[in-house]
């Protein structure tokens, strides 16, 4: 109990004191996670929608695969990305290990299946609703997918937010591929792990509260964006 109060106090001091290092770490967390989120969404949203509207031979298999990939242990993802990016690995020449880019790659792999799976679920419902009309209007495949993405954008936003939540709180994979290097790859979660290891619970908790705060703020920001749109346009 005392520790939690101490943590709150530490978080408060860090935030109101505009602690330079906290800012740097927080911004890096956001930058890495948002980059991963954008890349993953660009892959996952069309993929999930395509799987909803198009029947093809291996469709069921692909859907099962995505659902299975959702449960990938992040540490294992980290390990595989580490091996691929390490000096002796196939992508070693790119020299990406222990950079924010490596962390983004790991996060993209972790959250793409999450977003694709949730997107697929909601796009399937929307497709059931629209199916007859869109077929009747003689729409092309591309038009069907674009219509579903546009009209289902709120559900897709929820899918993306789930991906964001998963990514911003992730620690195992980015610790391995990023290395938690001060001023280079240290982000909120890895800093928390480090401070906890050092026994500085107050600072660790303080960072934890900042992390939760950021996650809540991003959720509110995105939801209020979509609400403004509803009141304005709808």
């Amino acid at each position: 109990m005392i520790e939690i109060l101490e943590g709150l106090k530490a978080a408060f001091q860090l935030v109101v004191g505009f602690d330079a290092e906290l800012w740097e770490i927080s911004l890096r967390s956001l930058r890495v996670t948002l980059s991963a989120l954008v890349i993953a969404s660009v892959i996952a949203i069309p993929l999930g929608t395509y799987l909803a509207v198009q029947r093809f031979r291996f469709r069921r298999f692909v859907i099962s695969l995505i659902n299975a990939l959702m449960g990938l242990p992040p540490v294992v993802v980290g390990l595989v990305v580490y091996i691929l990016l390490s000096r002796s690995g196939p992508f070693g020449v790119l020299d990406l290990l222990f950079t924010p880019t490596a962390m983004i790659i790991a996060q993209v792999i972790i959250i793409t299946p999450v977003i694709a799976s949730i997107a697929h679920q909601s796009m399937r419902e929307l497709w059931a609703e629209y199916h007859d009309l869109l077929i009747s209007l003689n729409t092309s495949k591309r038009q069907r997918i674009l219509t579903l993405i546009y009209d289902g954008r709120r559900n897709l936003l929820t899918a993306a937010l789930a991906g964001f939540g998963r990514a911003i709180g992730e620690v195992g994979a980015i610790m391995i591929v990023g290395g938690n290097i001060d001023h280079v790859t240290r982000v909120l979660t890895t800093a928390i792990a480090l401070e906890t290891g050092k026994g500085d619970f107050a600072l660790a908790l303080g960072l934890g509260f900042v992390l939760i705060g950021i996650a809540i703020l991003v959720n509110i920001a995105i939801h209020s964006l979509s609400r403004t749109e509803r009141e304005g346009r709808w």
Binding site: Y130, D132, L133, I135, S136, N138, T147, D151, W234
Partner: protein
Amino acid sequence: MTAVFPLKLDRVLVRRQSKTVLGPVDLVLDPQGATIVIGPNGSGKTTLLRVMHGIERTSGGTVSWARDDPAKHAFVFQTPIVIRRTVADNLAYPLKLVKTPKDQIAAAVDHWLARIGLLGSRNNQAARLSGGERQKLAIARALIRKPDVLFLDEPCANLDGHATREIEALLHEVAGAGTRLVMATHDMGQARRLARDLVFLLDGKIHESGAADALFAAPGTAELAAFLRGDIVT
């Protein structure tokens, strides 16, 4: 430009789960007038319309249009489908699909909003409309691309007398302007008011068909006579 009619159905068969849902059906629809499809629940009215429109998989036989241009027929479903957009955007949607210039879309949308009495609801969500308003919207949206033929599947099934009259007036108008109507209905009064030809389905087969006036005056079969009287026909 050649007309899309006549439409010929030759030994058309629809089987679902080893049950014959429709057919074999032979039918020729010539370019003029309005064909009304009647028959008990489950007799295959919806299936027949969907087959003609080309959105139902057939298990045998051929459906041939004089000139097949799917953009030139439109369908109004038994339960109106509206997309999750505003009333105006629902009307604009079919035109956007065929890359109509913006000013033409705006003009057509205004015309149809006024015609169906929904000018005041143009920026409301279509999903919030009443059942009758939604049905009128679905009909206007089907007509907005100026189809040669309009299929309507019990468009007045859940509407009161006033809404039904409005829709019938609209249908009279478009039929007068040269749009071919093919409509299923349960309302014998409506069938009498709109039909030039009558198709009476029983158990997936055309039990009787021909000029509406003649059939109403003197049904050729006991089943049609009973059906027109409002008796239960099996």
